[in-house]
Symmetry: C2
DNA sequence: AACAAATAAGTAAAATTATATCTATAAAAA
DNA sequence: TTTTTATAGATATAATTTTACTTATTTGTT
């Protein structure tokens, strides 16, 4: 097993969300075929993905829904808490701070940073907005593992460096730029521009899916 | 040529953003190797991607930066305007509405919709917030092609249906659910949960990239 | 109790995508 | 003008991912 495919990993949250949306009768079971139909995926792919997380279904029965949810949540690390800081309290940054849903995924935003003096000292939903100078120290002291970058493109790389200096091991980057980081630090880009490109390209096609 | 790889399509905006970040001396040229080094990609991959959009470089010279930018912008449809509506004026929806950067990508948000009566009638940066009832009519009248979904999971499918009823041909879905749509309608999911899964999984690994 | 039907799991094949190698071309230098 | 050198473009190889197929298991039915 060891290494799991990246695409599989990206599908797992979709399975989890679907399973959670089901009316939860205890001891209910669901077949791989049913999941596949609901999510418009291949039946075999679903089985393969689920077997990768260590779940096993029973023939003629399927997978016990509650077990599967627990398996997935454990595997995805939603049960273990990850501490994060947000850098860049602009439109997007504020929205990410205010959105409470990340807690369901094990993500706790414990602080925010901005270069704008007008924002520093504020509290947003209980999280302090601090000066950029304090970033590395704060991250080390608070044992922060994840940095969320919601700053303009030009500021992204320096902010990323500051996060890494603070010991952050994973960066979630909302800026449309490529960031360089040492090995062992994961840069995950939330690429809205790429999404838009796909939309825009689709609209230019006469008739396609 | 005909069909272009999805992964290629997703990389194109990255190239474009990088090229635009360059200090623009007129008639400046850049080699595929230089782009590859800056974005930490394979040199051959860059050439292959760029040739897919119809750009040709010259040996020992590379690609003319300005031409390349224009090519990419045209190919990605950033020069042709796409009219969009936003559904769901919550934290995220507001941030998307307030963020002005989408205009650079050819996306014009011309209206917003919400089920909350307290919001209806407001103007946000010049865009009206309307009732859900008016959605299909508005989309048809205003010739809207793109719908942006920033609603809770449970509301996503009905809202998506309403958008499609209004003639929308592409949906940008921020809700963590799979949406069903007829052929010819593109559903593009902005999958934050998947991104978080990758981050969380990485942090669980002892030492990996 | 035996059989049939349905399903999961494991294995193999196909398609897609990325990487490497090679060739030809064009500009710079001698 | 000739030679050298770096680069684009094309071709081929490799790796990854998806799909198809086969096998074995388990439950429900006769």
């Amino acid at each position: 097993m060891g290494s799991i495919s990246k695409h599989t990993l990206q599908r797992l949250p979709t399975y989890l969300a679907y399973l959670k949306s089901l009316p939860c009768a205890d001891n209910a079971c669901i077949s791989a075929a049913a999941i596949a139909a609901a999510l418009e995926l291949g039946e075999v792919q679903v089985r393969k993905d689920l077997s990768a997380v260590g779940s096993a279904g029973k023939p003629r029965i399927g997978y016990p829904v509650n077990d599967l949810i627990q398996h997935l949540e454990y595997f995805l690390g939603y049960s273990t808490r990850n501490r994060a800081v947000l850098v860049g309290v602009g439109n997007l940054g504020l929205a990410l701070l205010s959105y409470g849903g990340f807690a369901d995924y094990g993500l706790d935003i414990v602080g925010a940073f901005d270069s704008n003096p007008a924002l520093i000292g504020l509290q947003i939903d209980g999280r302090p907005v601090l000066s950029m100078d304090e970033l590395p120290t704060f991250c080390q002291r608070e044992n922060v593992q994840i940095g969320i970058l919601a700053v303009p493109s030009a500021a992204a790389q320096p902010c990323c460096d500051a996060l890494i200096a603070g010991g952050v091991r994973a960066v979630w980057n909302f800026a449309p730029v490529h960031l360089k980081a040492p090995d062992g630090v994961l840069i995950q880009r939330e690429n809205m521009a790429s999404s838009l490109a796909l939309l825009s390209y689709h609209l230019k096609q006469p008739e396609r899916n």
